[in-house]
Structure formats: C-alpha cells, structure tokens
Amino acid sequence: MDVFSGLFGVAYLIPLLMVASFVVVGLAGKRLPRLEWGGWVAVGFAGAAMVLGVLIGAGEMLHPGTWTNVQYTWFHLPGNGTGPTPNGVRLVVGTLVDPISALLLVVVTVVGFLVLLYSIGYMHHDRGLPRYYAELSLFLAAMTGVVLANNLLEFFVFWELVGVCSYFLIGFYYEKPSAASAAKEAFLVTRVGDVMFLLGIFLYFSAFATQGPAGTGGWAASGFVFAHGSTPFLAGASANSTTLTVAGIMILGGAAGKSAQFPLHVWLPDAMEGPTTVSALIHAATMVAAGVYLLAVTSVFIGFTSFDDLLIVAIGGFTAFYAATMAVVHPDIKRVIAYSTISQLGYMVLAVGAGFAMVGLFHLFTHAFFKALLFLAAGSVIHAVGTQDLFKMGGLRKPMRLTATAFAIGGLALAGIPPFAGFWSKDDILSAVYSQLGAHPAYWPFFLLAFAGVFLTAYYIFRAWFLAFSGDHPRDPTLPHAHEGPWVMQVPLVVLSAFAVGAGLFVFWPSFQGLLFHGLGAAGIPPTYGVTDLTLSAASVALAGAGILLAWRLWGNGRVFVLAESSPAQPIRRLLLNRYYFKAGYDWVGARGLYTVARAADFFDRYVIDGTVHGFERAFAYTSDRMRRIQSGVVSDYAAYVIAGLVAVFLLLLVVAPYLVARLGGT
C-alpha cells in the first residue's frame, strides 16, 4: 500500500509518546524555570500524538475496512491437547487499528491536544501544574491504549489505568474535602462496574476458550484477541446462551460504571469537583465514552444476545431522559453540563443496544467536540467570574463575546438543531432505533423517553445559556469584572466551535461514511446516515425548538423564573434537585446496611476468632508461665534434671520393662 500501512503498524507510538510526556513532565516539571514550560512540553507531545492519530484516521478513511493488528505474545502456555484449553493459553499485547479505533483515536488526540493547550491558560495560577500535566498525559496514554487495545485483557488494563487517572484528576484539589470525597466516590462506583467487567471477561473466556470464528482457534489460543472484522464470536458460538447473556450483562455493568449510566450514574456530577478542563476531556469527551466504546466493541466483535440488547436499550433510553430531568433544575453550570453528558451517553448506549454500534460511535464523535466545547466555554466563564452558580451570573454576553458564541454553538449542537453536529448524530440514533421498533416493539417506551429527552436537552442547555449570558449585568454585583482568557484558551474554543458546527457534516463525506460503514464489520444492521426519515427529524427539531423557546420565555433577557412556593410542581423540583434521592439512598445503604454488616463482622472477628486465638494464647501463656519456673538458670539444676532423666530410664529398664514382659509374656 502506501505510507499509511506503515503508520497503522506503529500506532503504539501514540500511547508511548504520552507516556514519555508523563515521565518527562512528571519528573522534570518542577525543576523547569517556569511551571508552564512543563505544560508546553506536554502540549508538544500531545501535538505529535494528535498528528499521528489524525493521520491514522485519514489512512483508515482512504483505505476503508483495513484491519491492522500488531501484537506481541506476552506469554504462551502450550496445551497438551486435552482439558478445557487443549491448545494452551496465550496472552498478548498489541494494537489493533480498525475503523472504530481510528475514529476514537482522532477524537481522543484532537480533544486531548486542545484541552491541554487550553489548560495552559486556565490552570496557570495553579501550583500543582506539573502534576496536572503529568496526570493528564498519563490519562491520554491510557485512553489511547484503551482505544488501540486488540484484546479484552489489555483493554481492561488500560481501562483501569484510565480510572486511576480520573481518580487523581477529580481529586486534583485534594485539600478540598468535597473533591477528595468525589474522587473516592468516582473510584468506588466505577469499581462496581469494573468488577462486573472483569467477571464478564471471565465468562466470555469460558464460553470462547476453544470456540470462536473460524481461524481464531478460540480465545485461549489467540489471547482474547478480537476477531478481524469477520463474524462476531457469538454468531459461530454454540455456547450456552445463559452464560453469554450473563456475560453481556456484566459487560453492560462495566460500561454503565464508566459511562455513568443508570444506576451507576451518581459519580459523574460529583466528578465536576475536578478542574473544568478535566471535566471537559475526561468526564465528557473521552473517558466516559469508553463505556460506550466497550459496548460497541463488544457488540461488533462478540455480539450480544437479544435479552442483553433489550437491557442495553432500556438503560440507555431511560438514562437519556432521567439525567436530562435533573439537569433542568440544577443551579451549577458544570453540573448541568455533566447531567447532559450522562443523558447523551444514554443516547449512545441506546444506539448500541439497538444494533447500531457505529451510529452510537458517530454520536460519540460529534458529542466529544461539542461537549468539550461546552465545558471549555463554561471553564472560560468560571475562570472569569470565579463562581459556578448560574444564578449569580448574567449579562456575560457583552464582555465575553467569543465564549458566549462558543457556548451557544455548543448548545445548538447539543440541542440537535441542524446543521450543527449534534443534529446529525442524534437524529441518526433516533431514526435507527425507530427503524427497529417494528421488529422489537419492546423498544417503544425507551424510544419515547429518548425522544422526550430531546425537548429537555434543548431547554436545560439554553436555560444555562440565558442565565449566564443574557441580561445586562451579573445578578451578584460582587462578581469580578469578566474578561476573555488568553489566546491559548481562545484557540481551542474556536477550533472546537468549528468542529461543533461541522463534525456532523462529515457524514456526507463518502470517506467518512465508509469509515462508519466498515467499522461494523460483518455485524449488525448497516445503518443509513444523514436524514432518512424527514417526519421524525422534523418532529425532533420542532421539539428542540420548543425547548429553546420555553427557555427563552422563562429565562431570556435576564428574567428569572421562580416557581411559586404553592405550586404543585414543587415536590417534583425538590425531587430533581435532590437527584431522586439516589445518592442519599446509596449513602444510606452504605452507612446503614454495610455498616451493620461490618459491625457484625467486626464483632465476629473480635470476639469469636480473636477470642479463640487469644484463648489459646492465654492457655499457653499460663502453662508456660508455670513451666518456666523449673528453668532456674542454675547449671547444677539442669544437671539434676539430666540425671533424673537417666534415673527414670534406669527405672523403666529395671522395673517397668520386666513387669510388662512378665505380664504380656513377650519374647
């Protein structure tokens, strides 16, 4: 072929570049004359990684459907022809460049680079700057590792690494108790998902250890490696479908943990304790999308059973609506966007569950850009006024024209107004799911929930926009005078705005469409991209327009809509503000349920196990205390014991032995 084929083989350079950045910035960052220099080093590495990532993406578009697998056998246990793994067990590490990973690679490296650049302006007050850049570099290394992993175990390793980086970065302001506890919460909640993911890997391994698509020899021999775009494992597997269903549920659990899907969604809003840039990169554009990516990869390479598909659709559709409702009332600008992230991830999960993995990933692609844009714009606002409370802001449109425009573009993309990016992908999801309703009537309620979510999305994001930017002056007069950030903060806003406008239009570019079509391999239903169902599209655009209109009616021009105390909607508002009491419920379960169990276990440990142990200990201590008194330490006493023993032997020989011989009549 051409230069690209060589490029696919060295895709591992991208994670390695970011690891190098991590090492350099982590070790040398504090010794550089100025702290930003470490940031510039990281930006340089990320830029190189971005060039590679975009080139790989371009290569995949020019050569649609190529699969380049580079792998190194970590270890191989030869089989003996019998037992559960007759061909032995092999574990490999490697990179698989295929349409899916190329798509994700472009997203991760481009958004990562832009966020790192933006951070130089946003974080420049911070003393922990080298730590920030080192951790962000490590995160990018891990995330590109997840994207490039060619087998599930490697995937899991990088997945955990990503989780650790997320933990570090949420807790970046570790001296703040709320940040520290949010980091712990994120880590623990995703841990639930990760354990399920691991169990899922084990179940799949037991199902596919020897069976799989022709030529792969099963997972035990091939090392968990994804089949090369041929038929999914499930298609050729005669394995027990209960096992596969449970394994699929486990994978879904892992994805739900990482992608903050119901009921493991609680950590993501609290993760906004981290720097806004971290929220933009990790908790909006990339890491949380890893769950969707996992589902997509699993559905393409392994396949889900129909029950799993329904479950995924249910969780996705429900989360899309459920999270949007909470965003409607929240006063914190970052949390509003965080809820919208959960909601949008729900749309992607819905698409994957309905069998359109690539449609979901297309939404992931566009979403990454406009959501990063929204976060970075929100970051600009926070940077300028030093608060996250929407009700204190207002009138920021005039001093921050660029930010206001960027936020508006992001909002329009999120709301799904054509021709902005979000419209094309979200509309594809809705029409794809709609096309399946005939075959799967059970999808109806979740389709309707997702459809209703379109209205809420448009409403809440423009409520935030109006609250922050419209009106004449801030509602809180003590706010500092707002101003735009430095150029490093403006450039990413502009670039991301361009993407938020144009990324959706990529779908009309035949090369890109080829990428999306080939990503699926032989699995699933080939979707149609672009507007397919005009009625449906018109309805969703109308809903979104209605949402924006309502937001303008209630909040536009600096108006503040106050729900009357006597309004029958008050209980609903309280319910939403309290996040459906979900977190409180978890806390209650943790505090009451687990604490009771722990108390019981503690009691058992202390009094039963320790009691037994200490009982023995005391018995021995008592006995030995008695015994040690014969140890006088005087030499002649010991001599006396020796001789007494000798005499005892004498007596045994002279008296006892003859007596026994006489009694027993022995020979």
Binding site: R628, Q631, S632, G633, V634, V635, S636, A639, A640, I643
Partner: protein, 106 residues
Amino acid sequence: MTSLPLVGFLALSGALLAVGVFGILTRRNFILLLIAIEIAMNATILNFVYFGAFSPSPAVTLMGQSIAVVLIGFAATEVAVGLAIVLALNRVRRSINVAEANELRL
C-alpha cells in the same frame, strides 16, 4: 597370667559413677563440679578397659584400650574448656559459685 573378678571391677566403676553423680548434684563450686565430672568420666573409661582386658580376643582388647585413649583425650579437653569457663565466670561474677551462674534461661 593373672586372673581377677570382673564383677568387682564393675561394682567399683558403678560406685565411682554414683560418687560422681552425687558430686555433680551437690557441689556448688565450679571446680568441684569439674572434679565430680572427672570422677564420673573416669568410671566410664574404666569400663572400656575392663571389657578389653577380660576379653580373650586381642581385637577387643585393642578396641577397648583405643577407645579409652580417645576418651582420656576428650576428658582432658573438657577440663580445659571447663577451666576457661571458670575463669570467664570469675571475671564477670567475681565468684565461681554455680548457683550464681543462673542466666541459662530465658
């Protein structure tokens, strides 16, 4: 060719061993303790010589006397080490009373 009662000799060494044992148990002076040990040791060595001497086989005689020679060497060694212990004890404790050397314990 002389002839002597084996039984008498055995009774003698038995009695000497008893004397040695008695001394080991009762004496508190380290040097006396060593002397008592030597008495018991000599009683033992005597036995080897008896059985060698009263055996008609020259090989047994040779064996008994050879063992006796080796044992005399061991006994002398033991006295040397014992006296070294006495000197060390005397330096540390200013006394060679066995009852005061009571550190042979935990």
